[in-house]
Amino acid sequence: MHALDKWLRNNSISRKTFSTKLNISIATLSRYLSGNRIPKQEIMQRIIYLTDGKINPSNFYIIKNNNSSSSFKNYKNDHLLGIENLKEDEISSLLNRADEIIKENRLEPKVNQKYNGKTLVNLFFEDSTRTKTSFELAAKRLGIDVINMQIETSSIRKGESLLDTAMTLNAMQPDILVIRHSLSGTPHLLANKVNCGVINAGDGQHEHPTQALLDALAIRRRKKQIKGLKIAICGDIAHSRVARSNIKLLITMGAKVNLIAPSTLMAEGLSYYGANTFSNFKEGLNDVDIVMILRLQRERMQGSYIPSAKEYFKFYGLDREKLSFAKSDALVMHPGPINRGVEIDSELADDINRTLILEQVELGVAIRMSVIEHLIHNLEFKK
């Protein structure tokens, strides 16, 4: 039952009386109560006034589980541009909502009209299958219209069109803009120019916040909590946005983080966040609960970073023998797509008892639904 319905009953006010006070039809009120529509700003203000603030905007965004109505309150931003500067309770808010979404079975296809009429634009300046599809699916599960824009890599070289593209999109008044770009800081640049919520789906070598969130969700679901865990992140730390977001998130949530990479692929200064660095794989894996393997970009496999894929696998590729240095119940994660036999042993990658790789993909949809809900909620609240 909707919180407002409950309040009406407790105060012995009929729907008809209340709708008259709001100057709306009883049918409209019913739509609010069924979650099919969200009150406009002036009506929202009337409701808050008439109920003495007992009913507030958050009651209209979370329908099923009223216990969780607090979860939205902790994430106040209009955008999700990175993990940096997020606090523990903000991250928890995003994770908790994703958990609820899974519990509510919302990942199953069903008609959900709560967000009907909202629009999400996927603006991808870089190739992506997983992330783009995941965002698309998340939006569609929420009943949001999705527009996919794949901008040819060649034309972004010119650069000039970027802000123009953003302004054009902004004029179409989308609610959420999901952006991936090969240059760091691009989502921040756009966020300053557009009126909608911006989600960073990966920018250069900077951040990939939804990946880190889904990784955290996967870890939390398996290990109950992140706090106190020892987590190793292995591979191309220097060029990885996934690593940066994960380091920040896991340390914020109270985990200990070991970074393992050959020195040429290690980034100076990431110990700033409190991570330990190792160039010896076995030492770095000692006693860890989670081993996160990063993808090694093909262009780094030759040249001055590492001499060859073969040498890399020998010293930094995860196989069962190296994994034995971690805790006996240690789990393996990988953001995908996998280079089998380069960063991870092929057979180990397929071992569902040890790896979370497919689970990560699945949880990605839930996390992105949670992020989208949060942003829309915050934007509506602001209006």
Partner: protein, 440 residues
């Protein structure tokens, strides 16, 4: 604001005249006649005031040689939408700058006589700041084939530079130093190892990693300097390093000077007043080449100027229009405008750094004049009357909108400073006067 006045006689009275060349620092008067300094000194006007002259009461403000700026970008030819010689001249004169050396990385590159002639023609038309073109060391700045140094010098090139590039081929650099020696020409290098700085957009290190930006490590500077100093040691000749940003560089250059090598160096105000944290969250106005370094380097550069280990301060004026800066950080152009902030920002070396004012002015006037072999940058009888009058006491605010440069890419917007230029004189002509300064 350039006021074309053709009074052949000008008298500056009651000024604190500072001339680093002679060490003169006293209240006095100065007479200009026929484009040159006729006379100056204490109580000069006591007995005789020339009645046909325009008299300017300086109210004890500082009168010193006009500044000489090394390595400015003035937009012509090729980037007139960012700056042109007129706007550059206006901006320079409003900054007390009377001579500028412009960089060769124009489009087309200054590597041939007609381009030097073109700039000289445009400078003459503008009739404002004195412009001395530098020429490229190698054709098209490609680092392989030397330019016609002798002919270019004859045409008016003041020195040879590769702008922001270096000559990565060691043999070509050796030849350049050796060949330039024939003409006693100066080679000017902005030292950053090209391989280490390739693709880099800010100082390499922790902050760059956090922002996900490719860095230019500090070691890129010292490696280039040490190689070039080794070459200079074997070839002889005159070498100037522009835009020094690190402490290691200062030490290496100092050692070379002690060895007797003919080497000098300069830096720009942003390198001793700002550090990499100005990049903040991908603020492209803070994208300069070489990059803003760490706090320690900023402090070291500041200290080195005060201790006279850096010879010259130059503006590193690099105008960039909005479209060149309103881009993702990696795509944005390098550069910051520097004319109108040159003196106000540098004055901090005097007010807070306890540097003697005459020593500070030396680094903006006589030192660059010595490097360039110019008969200006000093207050001397019969020297060209290139002067500037400065109020160093009244605080004011730098306002980007009010700057004369065509592009407004400065990080010093709304900075509270002192050191306002009241009046600028080129060849005995008042070419700029601050609107509130009434000299009549």
């Amino acid at each position: 604001m350039i006021k074309a006045k053709n009074n052949s006689k000008l008298v500056f009275k009651n000024a604190r005249i500072i001339d680093p060349c002679s060490g003169f620092d006293n209240l006095g008067d100065l007479i200009i006649e026929d484009r040159v300094i006729k006379d100056f000194g204490v109580n000069l006007l006591k007995n005789h005031i020339p009645d046909d002259a325009q008299i300017i009461d300086c109210e004890r403000h500082i009168l010193c040689p006009g500044f000489i700026d090394l390595g400015a970008n003035i937009g012509e030819p090729g980037e007139e939408f960012k700056e042109n010689i007129n706007t550059a001249s206006d901006a320079a004169l409003a900054s007390g700058i009377t001579s500028i050396v412009c960089m060769p990385n124009t489009d087309p590159v200054i590597d041939q006589i007609p381009i030097i002639q073109y700039i000289e023609k445009r400078a003459k038309e503008t009739n404002g700041v004195k412009i001395y073109p530098s020429a490229a060391i190698t054709k098209n700045l490609e680092g392989t084939q030397l330019t016609e140094m002798g002919l270019l010098l004859e045409a008016g090139a003041i020195l040879f530079s590769e702008a922001n590039k270096v000559i990565s081929n060691t043999k070509v650099m050796k030849q350049a130093l050796t060949y330039a020696k024939n003409f006693d020409a100066t080679i000017m290098i902005s030292p950053q190892d090209p391989d280490l700085s390739k693709n880099g957009v800010m100082n390499g290190g922790a902050l760059a990693n956090r922002l996900g930006l490719p860095g230019i490590p500090k070691v890129a500077e010292i490696i280039q300097i040490e190689r070039d100093l080794r070459l200079l040691e074997s070839t002889g000749g005159k070498l100037h390093f522009i835009n020094i940003t690190t402490n290691d560089a200062i030490i290496a250059i100092l050692n070379a000077k002690n060895k007797g090598l003919n080497v000098t160096c300069s830096t720009a105000p942003h390198y001793f007043s700002l550090d990499e944290t100005a990049v903040d969250e991908w603020k492209t106005f803070a994208k300069v080449f070489p990059p803003l370094r760490e706090y320690e380097d900023k402090e070291a550069i500041y200290k080195a100027i005060v201790e006279d280990k850096i010879d010259i301060i130059s503006s590193h004026h690099t105008p960039q229009d909005q479209d060149s800066k309103r881009l993702p950080f990696e795509q944005a152009e390098f550069g910051i405008i520097g004319f109108e902030t040159l003196f106000p920002i540098s004055l901090d070396l005097h007010t807070n750094g306890k540097m003697k004012l005459i020593n500070l002015i030396d680094k903006l006037t006589y030192e660059p004049a010595k490097l360039l072999n110019l008969n200006t940058g000093k207050i001397k009888i019969n020297a060209p009357a290139d002067l500037t009058l400065i109020d160093i006491n009244t605080p004011y605010q730098l306002i980007l909108e009010n700057m004369n440069s065509k592009s407004k890419n400065s990080l010093f917007d709304e900075y509270n400073v002192k050191g306002r230029i009241l009046c600028t004189v080129v060849d005995g002509r008042i070419v700029y006067s601050e609107p509130s300064f009434e000299y009549n």
